[in-house]
Structure formats: C-alpha cells, structure tokens
C-alpha cells in the first residue's frame, strides 16, 4: 500500500478533487470493494482492533450486569441531578446517528452523487449508534423489565398504559421507528450487493450464505424499477423522520419548566448539533477506513472536504444557538434564567462550559482553511475535538440546569462514578466492534451505486 501522502495529492487551486479515482471500471469497483469481504486473509489490524473492542465490550457487559444487580445507585445520579451520564450519552449517540440518515436520504434527494461512496457505512454507523443510544433508556431505570409497560403499549392485566401526552413516550416511538427505518434502508441497499457477493464468491458455503441474503436478486429491469421507487420513497420518509427524532429528543427537555431547558429553539438547535457530531463521526470512521483498506480512490479528498464543509456550516448554527441561549436568558429578565446564565459562566461547572466553547466553536474554525480540510490527519483531529465538544454540550445542558433550579435549598452537585465511565466507554467499544464486524462481512461501500458514477455506466444516445 502506498503511503497516504502520495495518494492524497491536493489538486491545484480552484480544481476540486474527483469523487472517484481515475481508471476505475465496473469490474475493478466490484473487485476492490467485494475483495474486502471475500478475501480469506483477515488483516492483522482488523484482528487487533476487534480484540481491543471486544475487551471493552466485555467491560460494558460487566458494568451493566452489576448495574442490574445493584440498581442505579452505583451511578453518580442523585437528587436534584436525576439525569446524568445515561441521558447525556443517549443524546450524544443518537445525534451521531443522524449524519448517516442525512447522507443516505437527504443528500440522495438533493442528487449529491458524492454521497454514494460513504452512504453505506454511514448508514451502518447510524444503526450501531442508535443501538448504543437505545441501551441507555433501557438500562437507566435499573429495572428494564419493569419499565417495558410504561414505555410500550403492552396489554397487561394491570390495565396500565403509557402516557401519550409525555415527550418521553414520543421519544420511544421516534427512536424505535428511526431504528427500524434506518435498518430497512440499509437492508434494502444491501440486497443487490449481496447478489454481487454471491456471484463473486469462490466457495460454496460463502455463495450459499450471500445467496440467501440476496433473496434471489437478479437485476431484472422490472425489479430495479420497483426497487428505485421504494428506495426514493424511503429516502423521502427518512428525511422528515430524522428531523423529527432529534426534535422529539429536544422536547424531552424543552417541555419541562427547568431553567435553561424551557426554550422554543431547542428542536432546530438539537438537529444541527446532531448533524455536526454525526459528520465528525463519519470522518472519524472514514479516515482510518480509507487508509487501512487503501480506499482512497473511492473515498477521495472531495468527500472529506465536503464533510468538513457540512461540519463548518452546522457548527456555525450550533455557535449561534449558544449565543441565543445566553441572549434569551438575558432577554427574558427572569431571575431564574439569569441565574442559569450566570451559573454557566461562573458556576462550579464553568470549566466544562468554556471547554465546550473551545471544542465546538473555536477549534472548528480551522476548517475555514483548505489545508485543514485537505489533510486527513488534521481533519481527524478536528473531528475528535468536535465529538468531545458535542458530548460536553449535552453534559452542560443536562447537569448544569438540573443542578440549580428554583429553590437554593435543593441545589446540589453531580459527579460521575467509575461505573458511569465504564458504561460510556463500553458503548464505544461495542460500537467499534459492530462496525468492524460489519466491514469484514458486508460491503462497506455500496457497489451498485458506485457503478452508476462511472461515465461508461451511462447510456449514450
């Protein structure tokens, strides 16, 4: 494999890098992408990464088992801060998922053909991120088997039903629908690629497995026609869905009367933040993936630059929202809102607030420079900083508002315990594990959609 510096040559000023490397044909695209899956040799780095991720996943299982045995008392939550790491992590993970749907659905509707080489693994990222997110509402009650009936409408002899006026129930429906639709979108995209793997497989067992997954797909014009209709409609459905999911998540906060939460601009603010962190995660996955598997011809500098520009734009929206939070606190002239603003700037957690400003507003301004947008390792660093910042944002929102509400006698402090950290870090291991298993077993780049990008794939008049 050639070193990355040689492949990622920046084109001269004013010229945009191509979205697919030169010299590719229908056959080479198939071989390169299917080759990752069909090769018998598992790369050493894959085994190492999966081993580490599996160990961290083991830590997650241990921590969750202890949690279920002992209850949520092992966490740092208390009264008044009843929502701690579990909610912070839930919002963080679900936000990360949003970029996958944005890339696969919204950019498809806008006919952004550059999305094609990153949509498959971005969708996988969405599914795995939503799985991590879903874990927290499940375990944060400490007794998930008892929580089932007030989360889902399950007919029981008690005759108790969920409270449909509560945003928390909207959240259950929004997140479970989002997971289902993301999974369907991902699955339908994989069918033609499974057919390719079936037809390229060298051994009978592999051919049978992918053959079953491909369900007998044969590329018939009638099938493609219905397939394309279904795919476009799913994209059209996923677009309002993804906007609704983080809006509903934000309503969990905004519908309450807690100072700092009770604002009307939360839904757009949360959606912008979700896409911001999601694109950062796309870069955190795409940059190592293209380097480790030598996929620079398919995920080019153009993709990285475009993702960086989306981050810059959504980052500015988020910066505006931080300003608005401060402004509305002052403009309300409500003494509790003013106290919340002062608590952010001078309170016991102000360090986290200033770190948030540094990570989410100041450092990402480097994306204005083409040299940062075109250098993968610099971009990777900015993405890590942004995802840290987005986690801090949720920490600031959740903890700093709950910590000091209306009555000073009920004020308190919140500090996480080692179990909080083990579960949070554990979900990162679980996510990495799922992602690398996916890369090994399924085509991480959509093969059939990549083919359509080639000039020779077009019908000439």
């Amino acid at each position: 494999m050639a070193p990355i510096e040689q492949i990622d040559v920046r084109p001269p000023k004013g010229v945009r890098p191509p979205i697919i490397g030169p010299g590719q044909t229908l056959g080479t695209i198939t071989d390169r992408i299917a080759g990752i899956v069909l090769t018998k040799r598992t790369p050493v780095f894959w085994i190492l990464i999966v081993a580490v991720a599996a160990a961290i996943f083991g830590m997650l299982q241990t921590a969750v088992a202890y949690l279920l045995a002992k209850g949520v008392g092992i966490w740092g939550i208390n009264i008044p801060v009843g929502w701690g790491f579990a909610i912070v992590n839930f919002v963080w993970w679900i936000g990360i998922g949003h970029a996958g749907t944005l890339i696969s659905a919204i950019l498809l509707l806008f006919k952004q053909s550059w999305r094609t080489s990153i949509n498959r693994f971005a969708e996988a990222m969405t599914i795995f991120a939503v799985m991590q997110a879903g874990l927290f509402p499940l375990i944060h009650t400490g007794r998930p088997w008892l929580a089932a009936y007030w989360l889902f409408p399950i007919p029981l002899t008690m005759g108790v039903w969920p409270q449909f006026r509560s945003p928390l129930i909207w959240d259950v429906f929004a997140v479970s629908t989002y997971f289902t639709v993301s999974f369907l979108f991902w699955g339908i995209g994989l069918i033609p690629d499974f057919a390719t793997l079936r037809d390229s497989a060298k051994t009978l067992v592999v051919r049978r497995i992918y053959g079953m997954l491909a369900m007998g797909w044969r590329g018939s014009a009638r099938h493609w026609n219905r397939y394309e209709t279904a795919y476009m409609l799913l994209a059209g459905l996923a677009t309002p869905l993804v906007l609704s999911v983080h809006s509903v998540v934000s309503l969990d906060f905004a519908v309450s009367v807690v100072p700092g939460w009770h604002t009307t601009f939360f839904p757009p603010y949360f959606v912008a933040g979700a896409i911001y962190s999601g694109f950062a995660m796309v870069l955190m996955l795409a940059i190592p993936f293209r380097y480790l598997y030598g996929m620079q011809d398919f995920i080019t500098l153009r993709h990285l630059q475009n993702a960086a520009k989306v981050m810059l734009a959504t980052g500015m929206i988020v910066a505006y929202a931080y300003g608005l939070e401060m402004f509305l606190g002052w403009y309300s002239q409500d003494k509790y809102e003013l106290a919340m603003v002062s608590n952010r700037l001078h309170g016991p957690y102000s360090f986290y607030y200033y770190m948030l400003i540094l990570c989410n507003i100041l450092i990402p301004q480097s994306l204005w420079f083409n040299s940062v947008r075109s250098t993968p390792w610099k971009l990777f660093m900015v993405a890590v900083v942004v995802n840290t910042g987005m986690w801090l944002e949720r920490f600031v929102i959740v903890v700093m508002s709950l910590q000091r509400d209306y009555i000073p006698s009920s004020w308190g402090m919140y500090w996480f315990t080692k179990w909080d950290v083990m579960i949070f870090v554990g979900t990162m291991g679980f996510f990495t594990l799922l992602f690398f298993i996916f890369i090994r077993l399924m085509p991480a780049i959509s093969i059939f959609e990549m083919r359509t990008l080639l000039p020779q794939a077009k019908v000439k008049e």
Partner: protein, 178 residues
Amino acid sequence: MTAGPVYGLMAEFETPTELVHAAKGAYDAGYRKMDTYTPYPLEEAAEAIGAHHNRVSLIVLIGAMLGMIGGYSLEYWVSVVNYPLNVGGKPFHSWPAFIPVTFECAVLGASLAAVFGMLALNGLPQPYHPVFNAPNFVRASRDRFFLCIESQDPRFSISDTRKLLESFNPEEITEVPY
C-alpha cells in the same frame, strides 16, 4: 445446444447503450415477454421494455394511512376510553400531543410497506430462477448487460428470435433451459 423446454434466449452485451438499443429493437419487433438484467438500475432499459410503471407508491400510501390511523386510534383508545388520566387538567382527547406518535407510526407503516411491498411485487425471496442457468449470468451482477426474450412470448421462435438478437451484435447468445 440444450434439449428440453427453453425459458428463453439470452443475449449478452458489453455496454448499457447496446443493451438499451437491443431492448428497444425487440420491443419494436413486437416482443413483450422479456426482461433486461443489469448490474445497476438502468432507467432507460426499463423504459425500453415498457416496464416503467409500478404500484409501489400506492402500497406505501396505504401503509402510511394504516400507520397513521392505527397510531392515532391507539392513543385515543388508551387516553380517552381505556385509561383516562387527568394530567394537569388537560382534556383526555388532547390531540396536539398525539401528533408526534401519529407521525412516527405513519412513517413506520409507510417504510415497512415500501420494503415488503417492493419485495412482494418482485416475487422475492425466490430460491430458483431459470436465468441463473445462463453460463455467463454471474456477470449480470458485475459488468455485463443481459436481455432475455422469454419463450412465453407468442412471437417467440428459437430461430427467428435468435436472428433478431444477432442483428444487435451481442457478445453471446445462449438458450436458457428451465
């Protein structure tokens, strides 16, 4: 040459342009029972064989309506009929609060209808299909373009159909056994 019944005649092309040209030619010659097989969606091919309309959209609309009605009815029945609870003096039938779940249920119904409706209309999963008997057909999912005129077509005859397909200069023509 294979003995026994024939599913159809399969012509293999190297480029999508040749395939669409051949499909148009066969359609103009009066053939209707035919299909093209391509490694990626090719709108022109579907148009050439007269298969550019489908009923997926209708199924999705029905799915969305069912999801919408189902979601709202569930909320109404739970909150008004079976388990009325006074929360902050709000009416039992507080419809604005019921909109988010109704919307999510509509999207869920529509999405399930889109995927499973598409698969059902396509007749998938299908464990066996005769076109896979064509020797080079594995390349239909890779880099080749196929046109198959089926023996079910009233105009089909091995020799005449072969002659027509030959006039489009395919790479290869094969008889596809059942």
